[in-house]
């Protein structure tokens, strides 16, 4: 029987061979490009002290607010005379550290809450569900802001705050995965065979939940980086003079009209990292999670 899905639509421009080629090339090419960019960021973050000509907080008021490619500073200097290339490379360190750290905190917390919600039943489950709803009732940034207000500013506190803010989304995905695994026949079979509940959890459910969680975690790193830079941009993240991109963008904001590079350099770096993370995340998701196409 003919496939009704393949019927023609009037006036439709057929797929051009150029377009189709562009699609395919784009997909593979972008993924490769993004991965290389990401690798470059990671490497420069790791080897920062060896790659940078100056120190990250080294001030030199004699050459302050120099535009890029003028004199000795390749990417220019900021209002304190600090070299922007150095600060940007060190910024990668902070961005990636916070990103990974926060996702780790969020994933662990989400694992616990999600498993609890997925494995329990009745009133407990309902209450936990509402608890997760409550966690999700606040956008991550706002929740992180609220936690910062208690914890105070600083690198570790940002990691913690953003991490806790991510527990909500993670616990929701974990719970959904737990429910899905629980419904599988082999879990029921294991139960019928008399294997203890804890053992079932440990041996069957947990492994099947951890893997999608890891995939989700990879995808959310860019989100964590975004939220933490946002916090720093707002002035309530890491404290100055830390070379955090968000902070640098905020510092450069006042000089946008006559020294746009002060915010421009870290901003571009942040944008590139986020895009690269996003492309890689999409690639990871397509590869490992073809069914769940949603956030």
């Amino acid at each position: 029987m003919a496939d009704i899905r393949a019927t023609s639509s009037p006036g439709r421009i057929g797929p051009s061979s150029l377009g189709a080629l562009a699609w395919f090339a784009r997909a593979r090419f972008f993924l490769l490009l993004a991965s290389s960019v990401l690798a470059a960021f990671v490497l420069s973050a790791v080897f920062a002290p060896w790659l940078t000509p100056y120190g990250p907080v080294e001030q030199d008021m004699s050459s302050f607010m120099q535009p890029p490619l003028s004199g000795t500073h390749v990417l220019g200097t900021d209002s304190f005379g600090r070299d922007l290339l150095t600060r940007t490379i060190y910024g990668a360190r902070y961005a990636l550290t916070i990103g990974f750290g926060a996702v780790l905190v969020g994933a662990c917390g989400g694992l616990i809450v999600g498993m609890a919600a997925g494995l329990s039943g009745g009133l407990v489950e309902w209450a936990l569900m509402r608890f997760i709803d409550a966690l999700l009732a606040l956008p991550s940034l706002v929740m992180a802001i609220a936690f910062i207000s208690i914890l105070g500013q600083g690198l570790d506190k940002v990691v913690l705050a953003v991490g806790v803010a991510l527990i909500g989304p993670f616990s929701r995905t974990v719970r959904a995965d737990v429910l899905q695994v629980k419904a599988q026949a082999f879990v029921e079979a294991a139960g019928l065979m008399g294997i203890g509940r804890l053992a079932i959890v440990r041996r069957h459910i947990l492994p099947n939940v951890i893997f999608p969680l890891a995939v989700q975690a990879t995808i959310r790193i860019s989100y964590a980086v975004l939220v933490s830079s946002g916090l720093s941009f707002l002035g309530i993240g890491v404290a100055p003079p830390t070379p955090d991109w968000g902070l640098m963008i905020a510092e450069g904001r006042s000089f946008v009209s006559f020294a746009p590079w002060i915010a421009g350099v870290p901003g571009t770096a942040l944008a590139i990292l986020l895009i690269a993370l996003s492309v890689v995340g999409d690639g990871v998701r397509e590869r490992f999670d073809p069914k769940l196409g949603r956030q």
Binding site: S8, R12, G14
Partner: protein, 343 residues
Amino acid sequence: MKPMHLSDAPGKVSLPPFIEERDSQTLLAASPLLTVENLCLTRGESLILDHVSFSLRRGATLGLVGESGAGKSTIALALIGLLRPPEVGLGGSFALDGTGELADATDATWLGLRGRRVAMIFQDAAAALNPCFTIGRQIMTPLRRIMGLGRSAARERAIELLESVGLNDAPARLSAYPHQLSGGMQQRVMIAIALSSDPDLLLADEPTSALDVTIQAQIIRLILDETRRRRASCIFVLHDLALASQCCDEIVVLYGGQVVETGPSRVVLEAPMHPYTQALKGCVLELDTEALTPLPSGAPSFASKTPGCRFADRCPRALGKCAAVKPPLAETRGRKLACWNPL
């Protein structure tokens, strides 16, 4: 209303009364409504339809029969212009009485034909009705846009149509959504919509395959009655040979996109000449069947390079040249046949 022949012993391959009745009418004198000549359809590398030819008289019913994937629905979709370049390649020609060549017709031409002179009923009525719009809206839209009726006139006409297809409580049905109706009712709605513009040609793509057996007969009867009343022609796409024998004047037997045998259904089915038609007949489960003779397994190849008859590798009567040279469709003993070694 004539006693429903279809409701007793479904599967009995015998003469339904209305075909004899119609032979006595002057249908033979009328020029054909639809002519299809050497229609070829390619999708990528595959040749889905290979030189399909048949014609259809006004007021007659034609059955396209064959296995799944033989190309029956493809023909129907092509005849209403839903399969055209650039999705597929079309060769050969087909035309309705009064239109120009349709194989390369423009969007505008098709827009003028669809829903006016040609209409189609789909197999899965539930899937063919938009779940987000009420029945009323789906019936009235063509009435208002194509027939130009005003809102209240369209509503009245819609109620008329629903009642004529056997739906009671029509005004209530108008504000219902498709998922609120049963399968049989959904199909009736589809038929009502298809017939609303009095088309010359109705294409029915396995209209009852998704329905209960008890409803099947009613729906087929409905389609036949309505098309006959409007003097329209109807093409049924069926895989059920028994059903085809009972409701179609003419029959086209397809295998692998090739026409193997075609002619008046009585002639073809009582004394099939093509091995495939014979095999199909042998597969039909009748109430007094003693043994089934299934076809040898296999599937046709749609590679455009296959030169000969596509049934050759499954045919018990295949000759050497069958796979190499395609037999032409020739007139023999009251039907057209494409076979080197007929029965």
